[in-house]
Every structure is written in structure tokens, then in C-alpha cells.
Point group: C2
Chain length 391, copies 2
Amino acid sequence: SHFRVWIINAEKSEFNEDQAACGKLCIRRCEFGVEEDQEWLSLCPGEFLTGHYWALFDGHGGPAAAILAANTLHSCLRRQLEAVVEGLVATQPPMHLSGCCVCTSDPQFVEEKGIRTEDLVIGALENAFQECDDVIGRELEASGQVGGCTALVAVSLQGKLYVANAGDSRAILVRRDEIRPLSSELTPETERQRIQQLAFVYPELLAGEFTRLEFPRRLKGDDLGQKVLFRDHHMNGWSYKRVEKPDLKYPLIHGQGRQARLLGTLAVSRGLGDHQLRVLDTNIQLKPFLLSVPQVTVLDMDQLTLQEEDVVVMATDGLWDVLSNEQVARLVRSFLPGNREDPHRFSELAKMLIHSTQGKDSATGDGQVSYDDVSVFVIPLFSQGRADRGH
Amino acid sequence: SHFRVWIINAEKSEFNEDQAACGKLCIRRCEFGVEEDQEWLSLCPGEFLTGHYWALFDGHGGPAAAILAANTLHSCLRRQLEAVVEGLVATQPPMHLSGCCVCTSDPQFVEEKGIRTEDLVIGALENAFQECDDVIGRELEASGQVGGCTALVAVSLQGKLYVANAGDSRAILVRRDEIRPLSSELTPETERQRIQQLAFVYPELLAGEFTRLEFPRRLKGDDLGQKVLFRDHHMNGWSYKRVEKPDLKYPLIHGQGRQARLLGTLAVSRGLGDHQLRVLDTNIQLKPFLLSVPQVTVLDMDQLTLQEEDVVVMATDGLWDVLSNEQVARLVRSFLPGNREDPHRFSELAKMLIHSTQGKDSATGDGQVSYDDVSVFVIPLFSQGRADRGH
């Protein structure tokens, strides 16, 4: 396949904690009807809505959650899409699925709310992530395993590319004269207000061991009674407060950038799994602060006038720790034109990007080395835009 | 003054529910010190940091809250700014106010967090709105009055213009070749997920009378058992669910655009007051769903190369209901150049904008009429950029 994933195990853990999955997404079209108060459903064999699916999972606390996610999420998504397929093939989602409108003004209300077909795919992705998280929770408990993972998913369907992200992986669009981020990182730092807000509403989640407030650095005994910079859940700005004893506790969110940690434990604030995860030597659970629901962005490929070398680069944080979006784009743009004859050039490009994180390629200039697992998908959009437009 | 506000009472209620305030903001600089474990504070008479303040309050349920806000918010803000004034006049806010750093690496942590002087002003605005809301709550209770109001505040300080918004008023920057929104409306529609989330966490807030879910229209008995479009707090997209009896309840958020209502009662989701407000004939309180904290945007006037006719237009929803940003910009650009000799031209422009909502001016093309109260400030930035830069 053109879409082989390249994964490298940095050997920071015994098993590779990065997992990947990709493949064709076949969504069966069903026919519904109502007969004598009995609803019936008949599959139309051979009638499919087809798309493509790519997914990266970056595990932590062991590979179990990432492996389960790689084996499960695509079926959750297929099921969610099949449940709304009638709406997907309509020009506008109908108010009522598998039935006529109850009210003659129904289409007008759907119109006023601005509900489009793509909203059903976004909803299906949101629900699939949640369903998959439930499955992982049950499976881990049943098998006595632990762990969690981030999830970054791209789906090409009906001429659109959907990117769903829960965690700190990243997808970018690289074109000849454009670099467009298709996801943003969801970490304790970027989701500070949501997390502080929850601790404000449920202070018992911190069990008296952590402070909800953010300070520029961890406070010490010396700071007692002084006025120091701080911010609370309702603030985007900063203010000063006089330090009291509870402020000396370990902060709910601590550290900057890559080093930011939730409850001293996790570097991400969204993902799948972690149902059993607790702060070391305490009963404090991480899960209430984590969301499994992804942020979804939509790229309308039909609007783009795609060129043959327009690609989406999806990768786990191991790549983005050492290469910026601009550096990746430079590598893409220098690699592809010289390899036009190679049928495996997109796959080779993914391999080359991985190698660039190992100090093996001088193209990065500074030869930085990633000590994390790294996984990369390169998705050529030109063929996608054509392949998954129809139904 | 150049900054007179123009307010018109639409007589939809006995009193004008729009209120305005503006004036110079004088922030005293204090000197702090510590002497034998006693902190002392001495005012430096004559030493001021000065800025300008403009505020619009759109009341509902009577004018009491709007009047209190117009009389109170500027002093809350002055107090909040005076409490951090040492940080405001520093090139970077210090970790410790009124004292030396406890730890030699303190400035580095402030640097890493990217905390700037403007973050202190944002924090002061956020805290001032909350403080003012508390004052209004106490005053209304003590005097047996009721009501609430939106608040839109602009502050010019140290070469920057801060716009803080809680509600559905709006401020825009109009320049010769640019229109830039400086606020966004905070309504039950734009804050749907936050509001649904709260009802998910605290279902008792709905007292079994409302449904948290959003549907394209209110459901009826006919819809029972059918699959209809819906979305819940975690969803940006839409999905289908089978209608059950509780789904027929009145929705937590109902209606589209201007007609959207929170609990069938309020058109805004942020503002001051409303501490006693309940859904008609029930004990269901609105206040838990309302935020008093504003969204703040910052305009760096020094970065703009200001022209003499660059203005900020602030107005309550009565103006924006009938005039788009583009229509207002067109009126501004056609009015100012022809009135260069008039020392009151900015004030006259505000008056003209108000008249345009009364069908008295043909410039709007369609001569739409606003039946709401309308208040407009026109702030000429050219002089501001100069006036409030120093300290």
C-alpha cells in the first residue's frame, strides 16, 4: 500500500508504545422501513460508502491501551457511521432518520441550525472515541492490564478529510506554498482552564494533596506571606495573591511546555484508557480530568485544487519534539519532486522523516535526536480527493 | 468631552435599560516597604498611571443592575489595577510584589510562562467584573431590587486598548482598509457546550423541568420513538437518538440566533447581576449558568501606525441587530472625512449611528428600525494612542 506507516521504537520502554492502524473504511448502506409497527432493516449487499482511515496511538504506562485502540477504534467508527449513513448520503441530514418528517417545517429547522452532512461525521468521530474508551476500560479491567494512549485519526470520506485528535500528536497539511495545522495539542497546559474548573467544582478530586492554582514556579516555605503571581480557573490574565500554607502544595498542573504534567503524572489531558491510573502512592485518580472526546477539524479537499505533491503528515510527538512544522515541510518539498518515478515515494518520505529524528539526516541542520518512539503517516491527498468522493 | 455617549430609549420599557460610563482612570502609584515585620504602604501624591475607561451596560429585568454597574465597575477596576501597579510599571511583572525575589531564578520562571504586563491588566479586568458582580448582588438584595445587565468595557492604558466583554454588546475597530472585531458575543448559543456541561455535572439545576439536549426544534408527542438529530455537551457534531419521554421537555437552550434563550428566559450567558432571577413560576435559578467573567482582547495601538480617522465603535445589541460591521464601517468612512473641521465629529458620528437605527437615515439602504435601546461610543484611537502611553 502507498500508506504504510513507519514506526521506530526508541527502546525507552521494552515494547513499542506507539501503535498505528490504517485501511479502507466500508460503511454498509442499510434500508429501513416500518411494517405493522415493526421496524425492519435490510442490508443492501454490495452497497457501500467507502472511505480511508489512518490512526496513530501513542501509549503510556505500557502498550496495552494503544494496541486495543489500534484494534478497536476503526470498528467503533464504522458502527457509528453506519448508524447515520442515511443522513450521510442525503444532501442535508434529515430531522428524522428512517422515517418521514413529522412536521412539515422540519427541513427549515435543520437549515436554520446550519446542520450539514459533515456534522454527522464529526459526531460519529466524537462518539466513536467515547465508545472505544469504554471498550478499553472494560478490556483492561478484565485482563488486569493498565495504561492509556493518545489518539490521532484521519478519515477521508466524500471528498473531505476529517482529523480527530485527543492528545499531543499532530497532523499538518503541506502544499507547495502552504503549511496548515490540522490539529492542535491537547495537554495540561493548553487545557488548564478546563482542568482547574473541574477541581474548583469538585475539590475532593485533589484529596487535599494538590493546589488548584497556577504559579510561575512551585512555591516554597520562603514564599509564605509574600504576594506572588498566580491565576485561577476563571482567569486568562494573571494577578497577585498573598501566599498561604495550602498554596505550597504540589500544583494540579506543573511545568511548562513539554514538561507540563497533570497531577505530576501525565503529559496529556485527552486520550483513551487510564481508567485505573492514580497518582503514585495515593488514591487520587487521573481519569476525571481526562477527556476521551477528540477535537475534529475538516479539510474540504474539493475546495483545494489539489496538486500531486500535496500531503498530510501525521506523527506522534516524537517527531514534533525535534522538527518544527516548517522543517517537516522543507523535508517534504525537497524529497518529493526528486522521486516522482518511485511508486513508494510517500512511504519512503515517511521513512526519511523518521530517520531525520535519529540524527541520521543532515537536512534538519542541527541533527537533533528524538529519544521517544516516533510514528509517521504521509497521506497523499491528490489520489484521496478522487478515491473517496463518490458513494 | 470628545467621548460623549449617545443613548436612545426605545421605550420598550419605562426606564432606559442601557447605561453608560466613561472617564479618566487614575491609578495611584504606591510605595511599599517592609519594616520590622510590618508592611507599610505610602501613597505618592501626584504620581498617577492614567488611562481612559468606556463602559456600556445593557440591562434586563429593570435598570437597577445596569445603574449599579455604571456607578461601580470603574472603581472596582481602579482598585484591582492599584493592587498590581508595581507590576504594571515594571518591564516584566515580578514574581513577588513589593519585595525582592526569594529565589534567584524567579525572573526566568516568569519569562518561561510568558507573563507580560498586559496579563496583569487582563487579570485586573477579570477580577473587577467578579468583584462588581458581588457588589451588585449585595446591593440588589439589600434594596429589594432585581435585574441584570451585560457589560462591555474598553480601557486605554500604556499604549494598549483592552476590550472586556460579558454579554452580547460588540466593539469593532474601523480603519480606512480594515474592520477588526474586538469582542465576540457570549450568548446561550455561543456558550452551548459550557452550559450543557454544567447541567450534565449538576442535573439537579434543571429540577426535572428541562432537557439538557439540543434538537433542531422542540420535540412533540409525534416524535416519540423516532430517531432525531441531537447533540449533547461533549459534541460539536450532530448525531441521532431515539426520542424518549424526557426528551419532550423544554430545552435548556432553545431557539436560534437572536431568539436563542437560556432556560426560556435570558438571551445572554454572561453579565452582572441576576442573582435572584428564576424561571417563571419555578424555583430554577439562572445564576449558576451565568458567568460574570469577561472575555478580554488586547489591541496594541503602538503596532498600528494609527491614522486620524481610526476609531473603535462600541455599541449595545440594539445597533448590531440592524447594522452589520460592514454597514457601520461604511457609515464611519463616509461621515468622518467630510467633517474634519468639526471638533465634535466623533460624538456627532455616534449620534448619526444611533439615528441610522431609527430608519431616519437612508445610508443603511434598507432603513431597518431597531426597537431596542441603543447606545454607542465612538473612540478616536489617534489621540488615545498618544494620551495613555506614558505613566
